[in-house]
Each structure stands twice: as structure tokens, then as C-alpha cells.
Symmetry: C2
Subunit: 386 residues, 2 copies
């Protein structure tokens, strides 16, 4: 049926069918009629493409008892789905104090995940890399996966040309390293380059994929936790800046009169040291505030006041539809979002919608998975399925 | 030669040839070989398209003694150019205290221009509209033009859906008006809608077209004069925001600790009142500073200090390649740019390139001309030449 079609057109058709199946509801699969709707291809072309993709190991035909195709009474409709396990990607969040890794299938369903925490945010580069490798391996083991089609790593730093751009700011000793080489000694074969991107950019990607910014083309994600960073999306595209430094809020504090830092983590450590004689994590402050501790509540009001000034700058300059609060602060949304909304409303005449990320601390990780998928999907047909 | 070509393809070919000629060096015109290079069309197609465009009144064939086409010895190369006067557009800058109008040909060459100043920035809406209409008519008279293919108007306000969005902030009484209707009673026929856009966005468009940001895809233009506003360009596209309010710096002052205003105009009025007993314009302060007046120099340092904080916020958040200073402040660049660079360097570790607009106070006007051209050019072939 496709004998008269050029190789380029056949490839475009195959990519369109595969994309439609990978983006569809996982359980049900898609019938030939569904695929005709999704791709605007003819019935014979859809089925010929599916037969070819089945032969190549990307698809399977489901035995589901779908209702008969109404245009062909008496015949059972053929229903297709991506072959589970045809390919996998790795997403990594190399946070300052926590590293997370996830292995997902080509739909983005996470099959195995692992995390490791560091004692503090200044661990040596070697220890950080060893922990990252170990987390990747455990995530792959849990997923039952030994080969990857792609991988992406999020770092709490500006990224320029695949390298950590901030010298020693957040990942001591790693600034000069090419993180793309990081995963090389793993017994996991990664096809193609390992992507490296800024954590806030990846967290925003996750919100655009499956979170609070799914329908907003003009959106900002503020990653508030151990550091303060923003991902900015304008007209549906992530803003990177001339040197990959767009959204670096840490320094904005100085400019915008917020004080020396608005990072929740630092404020929590200070509060813990003052109140308990030891530094604590942001979650501990939120828990104490929930339990009625006045000093913890005062810390949160302080966090809200400082953070709101940064959000107001973002709101006035960029006029986004929504600002998503991600990172550690999202876990304290029940005690933080109301004061934040009040402060922001007092600072700006027309505040954007303010929401807490439902992905919370997994946002960067899921964004890394999405980035790996976005990288791999257009070249899937050049690769071999697992 | 083009008998076998579909109407859609013929139209695309004609648009490509017309665009190449309108963007080319005005005096020389383009030969068939030049047009083949620019459009990737074949020689017969290029000449057939040009013959058709000549017949329709858009092009002319130049008699210039160009060197013979080297591939066809002995034959003079045919050289084409857009017909002067085939079409015209109107650009308008409805500034707070000055209105400017320019009529340009389809290359963007301004053929007639006019300006009018208001006594102050709170003139009644009726007076403002009457002055704008009069300036448009005089510009058209000077250009010898009675019909327009398109028009664009810049206003010192956010613009949403073609309307002035800021209620009574800068153009009292005009917030509720649809400025697109403004030019209707003119004895100038305008084909299609009159565009309305924010002044800073248009000034940035002009810098991208023919100014300091011609080669920078990530650029910011700060319009500093009677008000402070920014145009933001990311990846070559103007950032508008969800409600058309991106780049509204006037309010940013409050957030970023700059004080109640960083607008040069206000500071000048205050200095004038204090030093001379009467409000003066920014140019007067710059002139006094040049002449060695210490109080005027102190005002400029104050302007630089406040403005630099706003520029630093823009630089940190957006990481642009270049920030262009436009508006009235560009005219004081010789006394303002050095202190501004010093202040910005002290505030940000990696300041972007800082340049003064060479278009200065005509930036918004030329941006409006460019916006009208961008609007008209893709539908030229649906219109009749003058």
C-alpha cells in the first residue's frame, strides 16, 4: 500500500503514528480509526505503518475487545499500543543535598526510582558523582532495565553548552566537569548524548507536561528550597538567555532589596540554629508552624515577604499567567501559600495566579525524564528497540 | 514557463521575489542572478514572476548599466527594483508630551515626517487626538501620499487587544478609546486595521531592524524619558506577557527598591524646580551637566544609580546579550552611559553590553513604521499598488 511513498514520507508517517500512540492513554491503545483522526493519514497507510512498526519491535497489537469498527460492521477493529519495554530513558536530579534518579518508558511512566541524601550541600565532587551513579543504577535495577535510549540531568546551576556554568556555587568541584561524561562508566548503555540542564528549567518542563502550567504558555516556575531559581516560559518556550543564565534569582535578591538571600533552606538553618541550637530543614520549619510554633510562623512570614518581592519582580516584568511554586517550598504550601499570596497582592496591582506544584520535590526529576524523552522521541526510528 | 505551477506556489514565488527586492539595497536593484541567489528559484521562474509583478504595478525594470551577466556573455542582465510609490505605510508615536508621525515607502524609507509637542503630559484626549491627526496629515502631505496600505501607532502604555490597557496612567481619557478608530476620520484611506502597540516594544523592533540590536536575538530596550518602560526580545521574538503587560518597568521601581520613580523626566522636573525655580526637560539637565553644573551632574548620577538597579534586575533575570538605552535618555548618552555602566558593573557580576540607541527619540516612530510594514508585507499581493 505504501509502495509508491518516498522513504522520507514513510518515515514522517511512522513518526506521526508512533508519537500519537506514545502520547495516548496507556491502557486502551488506539484503533486504526483513532490513529486516522490523530495523524490525518488514510486507513491503508495507518495499518501499513503499524504493521511495519510491529515488525521493527516498537508496537504491539492489543487483543482488547474493542467495539467493532462502525464503518466495517462485523470486523473487529485492530488496536495498537507501544510495546512495553521497547525503550527507556533516565532522568536525574543532582540537587544540592539530594540526588534522585528515575528510569521511565517511552510514555514517561516511571518504572524505577531512587534517591540519596547528602549530609550537607558541600560534599566533594567525587562523593556526589559516586552517589549519583549509584542512584542511577538502583533506579535501573528497579525498572529491570540495562539499556537506555537517552538521559538528562538537572543541576542547581546555570548551564551553558552542557556544562555547569557557576563556578563552585552549588556543586563544588563539578563546574569544570562535563556532566555528560558522568554516566559513562555506568554499565548502562546510553544512546546519544546525555543532556544537562538547569534544575528550574526542567521543573518548569515537568509542570508544562503534567503539572500546574499544562495550559499556560506564559508561566514561571520558582524553585524555592535549598536555593532560589526560576524557570521562565514565554509563548510556550523556555527562556534560556544569552549565556544560559536566565532565571538566576539567587543574585536577584541583592538587586531587588530582598536581603542577602531568599532561599528557604538558609532561613530554615538560621531559624533552627537560633531556636533549636542546630540547623534544620525547611520541612521542619513548616511542621513546627503547623504545630503552632510562633517563631516558626514568623520565619515563614519572613520567607513569604522576601519571596513575594522576587515574585512581584517576575510578575511585573514578564506578566505570566501563572507562577508555580516548586521545590521544597511546595511541600509547605499549606502554611506558605496564603501569606505569599497576601504579600504578592500588596506588591502588585494585578498578581498572576499563584499555585503550588503538585510534583513538589520530584519536579526536577520528572522534568529530566521529559527532557530525555523530548530528545529521544524524534530520533527513535533511527534506534533499535530494546 | 510557470504554466504548470499551482496558484499557491506562484503566489509564494511572487512573495519571495518581492520580499527580496524590498529588503535589498535601494539604489542598485537586483538582477535575475541576485534574485535566484536570494530565493533559490530557477532563472525562468524569477523572470516570469518579475514580469508578472511589473504588469501588476509592484516592480520596475531598471535601465542601470549593470555588468553583463557572466553566464550569458553579450546580454545585458535585467535588473529589477520595487516601483517607487507602489505603496506606503504610516507610523505614529503618541508620546506623553510629543506626537510624531512618519509616512514611509515599502522599504521603510521615510518620505515625510511631522511632530507636535504638548504643553504637558496631561493634555485632554480630544486635543491629543486632534494633534495626532494633524501630524499624520502633514507627514502624508510632505510625502505626497494620500493612501496608505497600513498603519501602526505606539503608545506609552501596555496594550491589550489593540486597546490602551493602563487606565489614565499616561494618555488620560484614551484608555477606553479604540485607537484603531483614531485615524478613521483622516482623509487617508488605510487598508486593513491600524495596529496599536506599546512604545517600548516598537522601539525594540526598530533597534532589531536598523539599530543596536540588529544581531542580538536576546535583547532588552529600556525606554528612559518621560516614563521608564522596557521592550524584551527572547530568541528573536518580542515578549508580550499574558495580558500585554510584560516590560512595565514603571511599577518595578517600587519592587526593586529604586524609589518612587526612575523616570528621567520626573527627576529633571524636580531638579529644574529646585535649581531654576521651574520644571525643565531631561535635555536641559544633560546640557547643564555638560556645561559643568554640579547639581545637574548629581541628578544624572542619581538617574544612573536608580536606572542601573532596574537594568540589573533585567540583566539577572533575562541574561540578554545587549541592553539598549532608548528614548530621551539616549540623547544624554555622552554624560549618562559611563556612570550607568559603572553602577551596573557594581551590581551584576556579568553585565550585558550596554549601548545608547542611535535612533534615540525617533525609535518608537521607526518601530511603528516597521510594525506597519511587517503587517502589510505578507498581504501585499492581495492589495492593489498605488
Amino acid at each position: 500500500m505504501t509502495g509508491a511513498t518516498s522513504p522520507m514520507l514513510r518515515r514522517l508517517n511512522a513518526q506521526a503514528v508512533l508519537d500519537a500512540l506514545l502520547d495516548a492513554d496507556p491502557a486502551a491503545g488506539l484503533s486504526g480509526a483513532d490513529l486516522m483522526d490523530a495523524t490525518r493519514l488514510s486507513r491503508p497507510t495507518v495499518h501499513a505503518v503499524c504493521d511495519e512498526l510491529i515488525a521493527r519491535g516498537w508496537l504491539t497489537e492489543l487483543d482488547a475487545l474493542r467495539p467493532a469498527d462502525s464503518s466495517r460492521p462485523g470486523r473487529r477493529a485492530r488496536v495498537y499500543a507501544p510495546l512495553p519495554g521497547a525503550g527507556h530513558v533516565l532522568g536525574v536530579d543532582m540537587g544540592a543535598t539530594t540526588v534522585r534518579a528515575a528510569v521511565a518508558d517511552l510514555r514517561g511512566t516511571v518504572l524505577g526510582e531512587d534517591a540519596a541524601a547528602f549530609r550537607h550541600d558541600r560534599v566533594p565532587a567525587g562523593e556526589r558523582i559516586a552517589a549519583t551513579r549509584a542512584a542511577c543504577l538502583r533506579a535501573a535495577e528497579r525498572a529491570g532495565v540495562t539499556a537506555l535510549l537517552g538521559a538528562a540531568v538537572g543541576v542547581p546551576s546555570p548551564v551553558a553548552e552542557g556544562r555547569v556554568a557557576a563556578v563552585d556555587d552549588y556543586l563544588p568541584g563539578l563546574a569544570a566537569e562535563d556532566l555528560r561524561l558522568l554516566l559513562d562508566p555506568l554499565p548502562l548503555a546510553v544512546e546519544g548524548p546525555v543532556l544537562v540542564d538547569n534544575d528550574a528549567n526542567l521543573a518548569l518542563l515537568a509542570e508544562r507536561w503534567a503539572g500546574a502550567a499544562a495550559d499556560a504558555d506564559d508561566a514561571v516556575l520558582v524553585l524555592a528550597g535549598e536555593r532560589l531559581g526560576a524557570g521562565i516560559c514565554v509563548d510556550g518556550r523556555i527562556v534560556r538567555g544569552h549565556r544560559g543564565r536566565a532565571g538566576e534569582l539567587g543574585f536577584l535578591d541583592l538587586v531587588a532589596g530582598v536581603g542577602d538571600t531568599a532561599a528557604v533552606g538558609n532561613l530554615a538553618r538560621r531559624w533552627g540554629t537560633a531556636a533549636l541550637g542546630r540547623p534544620v530543614r525547611a520541612e521542619d520549619v513548616a511542621a513546627a508552624a503547623r504545630a503552632g510554633d510562633d517563631r516558626a510562623r514568623a520565619v515563614l512570614r519572613d520567607v513569604a515577604r522576601r519571596t513575594a518581592r522576587v515574585l512581584a519582580v517576575l510578575a511585573v516584568l514578564l506578566d505570566p499567567e501563572v507562577i508555580v511554586i516548586g521545590g521544597g517550598a511546595a511541600g509547605a504550601a499549606d502554611v506558605l501559600l496564603d501569606p505569599l499570596e497576601q504579600e504578592l497582592g500588596a506588591l502588585t496591582p494585578r498578581p498572576p495566579r499563584l499555585v503550588a506544584s503538585a510534583l513538589a520535590e520530584r519536579g526536577v526529576l520528572l522534568g529530566a525524564v521529559r527532557a530525555a524523552l523530548d530528545d529521544v522521541r524524534p530520533r527513535l526510528l533511527d534506534l533499535a528497540p530494546a
